[in-house]
Symmetry: C2
Subunit: 129 residues, 2 copies
């Protein structure tokens, strides 16, 4: 079940898990949709914050999804958390950066939103903002 | 711009290209949608062909996409080629396996089809079937 995937000259392995005939040599293919979403909006936010002269923060994204039970199994809800850590970070600018990505720049978000609801949280130092 | 992505316990790097502030340490995030699609439908086809007792073939997938020019830049058309090589392969069964994935099993295909047109070709030993 494993495939060698090539993208932009980089190689990585995609595989099924043991339950479905794979060997878990790499991640499941469907989950790559979520990595794609996190990477796309994450780079937007980094880029926008840099233009806003905000660079002194730690930034992670967590993304999970709820799937339908019936074939074809699709994500009906995607949970996307933007997680910032740092001192004296301007709440309004963090929110604005995320909003700009979600509404204007992130092509992956625009595509996946046609198939699933994307629920977003923005978390600063452990608290929702 | 680079992110360390973790999915199913596997790590890989996503990065922007040099033109957009990255260092090309890994693939672009949006393209992962296409890797996801190829992996998902590819595993379906492998699994279905195995049940059909067809295992003596080489199987690759090529997937490319055409993007809009305006932000958010999305794929409006995805070109998905199923490429088989082998001797005495039953054309009807190859086509049936692809059809079953596209219409019944592939969740990624079902999701992306809501955002883009997916144009499919099935190629056996260099010729469209």
């Amino acid at each position: 079940m494993a495939f060698d995937a090539e993208l932009n000259g980089h190689h990585f392995v995609i595989d099924a898990d043991e339950k479905t005939g794979g060997e878990n040599l790499g991640p499941r293919p469907k989950g790559l949709l979520l990595s794609s979403l996190a990477g796309c909006t994450g780079m937007d936010v980094v880029s926008i914050l840099k233009k806003m002269k905000i660079e002194n923060c730690v930034f992670n994204l967590e993304v999970t999804a709820d799937s339908t039970e019936e074939h074809p199994k699709t994500y009906h809800t995607i949970h996307l958390n933007y997680i910032f850590e740092g001192n004296d970070l301007p709440v309004d600018k963090l929110k604005r950066a995320v909003e700009l990505s979600e509404t204007r720049y992130c092509g992956v978000s625009a595509m996946l939103r046609k198939a699933a609801e994307i629920k977003t949280r923005i978390i600063l130092n452990g608290k929702d903002i």
